[in-house]
Amino acid sequence: MLLLDFIRYHQHLTGTKIGCREGDCGACTVLLGELKTELNQESALNYRSVTSCLTPLGNVQGKHVVSIEGINMQELNPIQKAMSDESATQCGFCTPGFIMSLSGFCLSRKEPSPENAIASVDGNICRCTGYKSIERAVACVSDLLKTRDNTEPALFAAEQKILPAYFSGIRERLLKMEAYEFSGKEGSNARFVGGGTDLYVQKHDEMTHASIRFMLEDQSLKGIEIADNKCILGASSTVTDFGENPALQSYFPELKAYIKLISSTPIRNIATIAGNFVNASPIGDLTIFFLALETELELSDGKNVRTIPLRKFHTGYKQLDKRPEEFITRLWFELPFPNSKFNFEKVSKRTHLDIASVNSALSLQLENDAQGNEIISKALLSAGGVGPTPVFLEKTAAFLKGKTPDESLIIDIIKIAQTEIKPISDARGTEVYKRLLLSQLIKAHFLKFFPQLKAEALL
């Protein structure tokens, strides 16, 4: 059962709304609170917003579930007041979702800037207001948090009467809850469910009676480790875990900007990396991202473990080199060297919360040749939306090796890239468009890496 149905039709709490059941509107947003223990640290109370329409009940085991009813007080709380005062609610159907996303923001440790506050509602669609009034309300909400120092957000929110007083006691109540043991008792044909953000959209009906193995909270599949210039990620790391990792942010200075292009806050909070690979969409953003990093996967069937390069994982349209009982446990890649460059590009019809028309990642290693010219010593180029699988552009990358990055080189490799792709026309664009777009994204990679290149020679 999905959390949404449980809340609305079993608990009869009708403040949580249904707009799409596909994670795309945010009307069903609720919060999940849990205690997270980082190495050698006191456990921290952590809240995140999620789309309840894609969250199986199994994924909320041991957590504090907050629906809109759980944040109502006698009077309007300041978040609600801001939305009401700014007339940021017209038909009102989207409103509880917005309020919950903003409550999630108040409970998070994100810096309380207006930009971050706006980002917290990036998964909420409002068809009525035109968002300007919502922007004004959201600005008031970020102001509420200005005086918060290192106080735990939930305590601060309770003290300041932003949220009900009971939030100050949640830590104790969670501590008293029985620890959730990963049971592993499911039948051998159990389906792996990560965040469920693909499965419950694509196979909604099938999942109703399926036997499930919940991966998202399996601690053995979590964690991000950095050692020996290598990054090892647990398969159930979420997009948020990945994007908010401070160490990774220093290796990929634009990581936050890339991540912002992927789905929305409540989806990223539950969507796993393994889920993206296994879903095998030809335009999976994480797949394209990790392809250009020569990522290796570790697969296990519970007994035997093997590793395989991500490049070899997708063998055909939605076909994988994976037996049904195998699951991904970990993945790793070499961190970029100081003299290497990485860039990810994505263009979709709507810039945010949309699937790519075409996406692409390029990583380059550079060195100086005998004459002191900068040359490309290694190149890895991936592209999505241009074939039945995520594409690793092998010939293009090979051609780059040993070359000096200049305008004519870019024109040359675009021609090669065009021979390596087979886009089709669909709802995300015509073939002609996708071909042109990939060329443009390749130019974009290079113009970002080498701003001295003459753009007019490329356009």
């Binding site: 403040g15 009813e69 309007l76």
Partner: protein, 751 residues
Amino acid sequence: MKNIDSFNHVRGESRYLDDIPLIQGTLFGVALGASVAHGIIKKLDLSEALALEGIVRIFTDKDITGENQIGGIVPDEPLLADHHVHFSGMPIAFVVAETEEIAREALKKIKVEIEALPVITDPREAQAKGELIVPPRTFRIGDTDAAWQDCAYVFEGKADTNGQEHLYIETQGAYAVPLENGVIKVYSSTQGPTAVQRAVCKVLGVPMHQIEVDVTRLGGGFGGKEDQANTWAALCALATHVLKKPVKYSLHRMEDMAMTGKRHPYSTDFKIGLSRELKILAYEATFFQNAGAAADLSPAVLERTLFHSVNTYFIPNVRVTGNSCRTNLPPNTAFRGFGGPQGMFVIEAAIVKAAESIGVEAAQIQRINLNKTGDEFHYGQIAQSESQACWEKALEIYGFDQMKEAVGAFNKANLLHKKGLALMPVCFGISFTNTMMNHARSLVHVYSDGSVNVSTGAVEMGQGVNTKILQVAAQVFSLNADKIRINSTNTFRIANTSPSAASATADLNGKATLIACTEILKRLKKVASDELKIDAKEIELKNELVLAGGAETGLDWKRLVALAFMKRVALSEHGHYATPEIHFDKTKEKGHPFAYHVYGTAITEVTIDCLRGTYEVDAVKVVHDFGTSMNPVIDKGQIEGGIVQGIGWMTLEELIYDKEGKLKSNALSTYKVPDIYAVPKKIEIDFLQTEQDNLAIFRSKAVGEPPLMYGIGAYFALRNAVKAFNPAAELPFDAPMTAEKVLLGLYAGKY
């Protein structure tokens, strides 16, 4: 005053259809939609579905107790397909089960064999084959044939606009509950409770006094629930009528998107002629409206396209013809603007085509041709124009000339980004173009404790109409808002209503409320006059006190009401309002169809990324003719929302049907509406306050639809930005301007 619902909205306590607590024994229905767009049903095998545990009944056209007909304007739309399927998603059967899950399970077990017939998705093809919903209509003024020879310039072209999915966030639905004596109460998410009532009565074969339709509020409508809520209500009511059990159906998003009609796509040929001084002397257009498989509201939508085909320009010679073309898409329907936007897009395209060909700026042609008070529209009405006032004010207060210079300088300095600017003046007529629909009623009760209850035919869907009606009552009685309650919209309380549409809801229902309250007030004053022995003319109610000649009298509202009650004075009134002055003669296509027009001008600035083809709207700056706004907060919200919806239609929102008539953009993942990052970075709205009398409630002009058309500016601004990068690009007039079209335009002819 804030929207009176906002307190409950932000707490999640407002009640929508799916939130109504269920009555025990409620059954759940789900409709089976056709999987092909055109064909003959050869076999419909329900046996496997019926064998499922928990299935109660499966309804097909044979089970309809009345008429299998829900067409509003033209009776051409069966509720459930008989043997002929006309569009993909057309309801064929209605499964009723003990749970929704079982009903959905059963859907998959129904076996339908349909012999496919040729599918038409293109309105021009339909027209060529004679597939018209109603005969073509032509509006004309002057003599275009004769005028062409006086023109220094004549240009012809084609302009297309795609449809638009309403995407009200609350999907369609209905819940029918049996009462005694065969009465059925239908909760419906509809803009037209009476339309639902009529459709249900026809399908069930029962008189209207047996069907109570009740609407508390909608989670958005935008026209999509004006006529198309009827289907679900009729299906649920039919099942209730037969089974004597409550039956509910709340559509899943993909069902809603697949089964319901949208804004009409149009394809249009135009011809425009100008004098050397850039005066538009003649304009002709032939519209091909993609009506879908049944009439629904298409003829009325087409009519408004013709009315607004010259937008806000005065053109002495006009001939515009509209074809409502029958295709195999779901029947298209009302959507904010109601055909007006489609008409305005074409004249704007024609002006741009002329400007580009002559080598002047479009704004020059626009400005010279704005209408003035006294000009005659091609349908005979004489303009009371604010067109030039809005335009000139916008140019001035927003510093248009400086904006233009700045954009020019930016484009010179930047290669990878280009900016574009466009002006979009708008003139939109207020009233149902079908004159007989322009009336409304309001039932006002003053209870003996002084509290007030108001019922009207208006449906609250976020536009704030209930707030405005409350303001009317509060103002007339000089009462605090907390003394007044606005009831749900209910056909047993208010009969024979027009739908909440045409931006006229607050005007019509507000005026009816004004009439009812004024009548009660008159009686109360009489009571006070008798009691105080003071001439009624001296008596005034102010802030809940009874004043005489401005001085307190010791009487207050509560005591006055109690007194009136004791004196057996009627404290209830049913007010009726019918818009005066309006008329339209369809045999001549002339008359005075609109109570008034709303004017405005928008300046839109955009920036495109010339590498990736993506874009942002930097700003939309508007001067809007409000008359005298009675609720600036709500009106501003309507304008901001309308602009963004209009921009969505012109940019991101791309409805895609394949050749087989199947919707490809069938979910929120493939049909993208604006999110918080896609909206203009800045929206500025300036109020053009006017003092002239008009027929609006408290002179506060209607504001629901007109702003949507400001969004058209975004299309032309993007076009200008593309041209700044690639002046040689030949860009067809074909909205929406998606990122794909921008990129292909930027590089058209380059590779």
